[in-house]
Symmetry: C2
Subunit: 398 residues, 2 copies
């Protein structure tokens, strides 16, 4: 075997050992050898290297149930820190996480309507503040951003709301900080987070996992065979700009009736305003009078107060998402589709309507085998996913 290939095997073996410890936890050298099919001497050598790197530690003896008692090894979760960034919200959010995606320290910087170069400066500030707060070596920077992203080149091709076009974020940040940088679309990272750190998924579940994220825009992140689906380099999961309403209203993309014109947060707020304009006696007016302003809390308030207009709007959102879900099932087959809404909304109402629509619009047996739920992770899901992306690329533990 050529030298290059021996070296490749050694790196792959080291990653395999670390991955085994990461996924199993508390495991002896002998059990690692059994699990990986590597020889005990090879395992000992690689474990020694990982111990020296501080990535793993010895945790005492295994229970004495079976013969010779081995020393248990485990990953030192806080031996490294990861910077996870979420640029898909009205504030730019970042956090330092440990090797399990748990937030150690976080920074939120308000955009206050900034875009273009000013918004980019805010990203630099965010990263600087997080680097300054780090208490362990930083493994890398993961970024989730809205719009069309080329994850291979790390170029943000287009994010309409931020007025960004062709921003080489990876190289800009790498040049400033000399740390590895990985990026992907925010919806893809929401899906990666759910797959990696979520409650209800994981490698044992062989349905594709789809997270549909409702925020400023609407998009989907898709995991197939345990990996993020990148169909073409950019634009995978851009379901927000597929038409779901014939004769619908115009979207920022120029077309009419896109999913985003019905199911994004701005679209929902617009429908509330329209309903208020049409009906001066609408109970929505009461909320605005009490709260002094119209804000997204109106959605929960209205649903809690049994507001019919709000139920009708959520029904429309559910139907539009049901159309999107049927298209996803038509392409991928049965899936586990999770809905993530960046404001509090009534998931049971929404999911009931999605299921009703899905059953009517795609092969019934595939619709029935499709699982619908809300996401298990909260508003830090993109940050978690960004952290998982770095873990995947830098340590290959995922």
């Amino acid at each position: 075997m050529a030298k290059a290939s021996v070296k490749r095997n050694r790196i792959a073996s080291e990653q395999l050992v670390l991955r085994t410890i990461y996924s199993t936890g508390q495991i002896s050298r002998a059990d690692i050898a059994r699990a990986t099919k590597l020889t005990p001497p090879t395992v000992s050598e690689l474990v020694g290297k990982l111990l020296a790197d501080g990535l793993i530690e010895e945790k005492g003896l295994a229970p004495s149930s079976s013969g010779r008692r081995g020393i248990l090894l485990d990953v030192v979760d806080n031996s490294r820190q990861i910077i996870g960034i979420d640029l898909s919200r009205e504030d730019f959010r970042g956090a330092l996480t440990d090797l399990r995606g748990r937030t150690v320290h976080r920074v939120d910087l308000s955009l206050d309507g900034r875009d273009g170069e000013e918004a980019l400066s805010l990203v630099y500030d965010l990263v600087n503040q997080l680097i300054a707060s780090a208490t362990k070596p930083i493994l890398g920077i993961g970024i989730g951003a809205p719009g069309l992203i080329d994850p291979f080149d790390g170029i943000l091709q287009q994010a309409v709301n931020l007025n960004w076009r062709y921003i080489p974020i990876r190289s800009l940040l790498y040049d400033r900080n000399n740390l590895p940088v990985y990026m992907a679309n925010d919806c893809q990272l929401a899906a990666l987070a759910e797959f990696t750190f979520g409650e209800d998924n994981g490698p044992q579940n062989d349905l594709p996992l789809v997270v549909i994220k409702l925020g400023w825009g609407v998009g989907a992140g898709i995991i197939v065979d345990g990996k993020l689906l990148h169909g073409s380099r950019v634009g995978t999961g851009e379901i927000g700009h597929v038409r779901v309403v014939d004769n619908g209203i115009q979207c920022a993309c120029g077309n009419y009736g896109c999913l985003e014109t019905v199911a994004s947060i701005p679209a929902i707020m617009k429908q509330i305003k329209l309903s208020m304009n049409n009906d001066p006696n609408s109970s929505f007016h009461k909320f605005v009078k009490d709260q002094k302003e119209l804000n997204t809390n109106i959605v929960v308030w209205a649903l809690e107060n049994g507001n019919n207009d709000m139920s009708k709007i959520i029904d429309g959102v559910g139907e539009a998402l049901g159309i999107a879900a049927s298209n996803l099932v038509g392409v991928l087959g049965s899936c586990h589709i999770m809905i993530h809404c960046s404001i509090t909304c009534s998931y049971p109402l929404l999911i009931e309507k999605i299921r009703e629509t899905l059953i009517q619009r795609t092969l019934p047996s595939l619709a029935r085998a499709t699982k619908l739920s809300s996401t298990s992770l909260g508003s830090d899901n993109v940050i978690c996913g960004a952290s998982a992306l770095v873990l995947h690329h830098e340590l290959a533990v995922l």
Copy 2:
């Protein structure tokens, strides 16, 4: 390194050498070593084994342009034969192909309306006739069938038109013939064929490849990253049962307005009949009078004669396919979408309408980057794909 892993490496290395020869053709041992990064002694050993198996042969000396002249090696295309079967048509078709998917011998057996057990017997007959005609060792049997297939277990879960449910085709055929059997949905094999043996695609093209196949039903085969996309085990690419027409007619699946109710061959014929019923002076009647019966040739005839009713029907088919295409682009990003119609139809007219619809119904930049064409392979495409499936699994050359 453990023994198991050494053995795995040797098999992988042998496959790598064969794959290199298969894809390059006419290559010396020294160039194989350079291309594979294996050592020259390892290459010589593995080439010796492949020569002994008769899978490759020596083809004389390389041109003397560079130093020492090596002996050129190439795959013996007709050293093995593959059985490829297409069960998605009104006749059951099979062929013996060589290692490049070229047909050596073919058998067509007419279904004559048979289904259930009788149709299954016809599959046995087809395979028996092909085995009897083989002049070289048979590498395996590849099967493309309509409906819901579990490609991992080789079980046909449901094919409505054949009245088949949960037929374990792989094990049934394996037990009878003791040959490896692989199967997949016919649309997936049409896509695999186009990717493997088609004119216009291949690993250099990084867009996902989608073949939409219009026959008895409508479905899509999807290639991402050089591999068939299997989202869930069954049902990937079942776009034929996604609703494309609101208030449409009922489909065999029980739902309304499915793509199959507009764009399948039976649906097209139904629309022609409807048009004839509505208009006793329709020029369709002239065709039936001349030909003595209504058959699918009417489509070409009507298009050639500038029949407006036919253009309208094709326009509707194109619009429905455009909706399906926009859903595909929403999930996968920009693609290369190929249309394959099992009867002769006017592709330019169809594709023009698909593009027009696609641009209106999905993100314009992704629509513009999407390539639309007809397939390059003809009606043997599923057989070619079945052959490619066997090549992939048995020789790993693809």
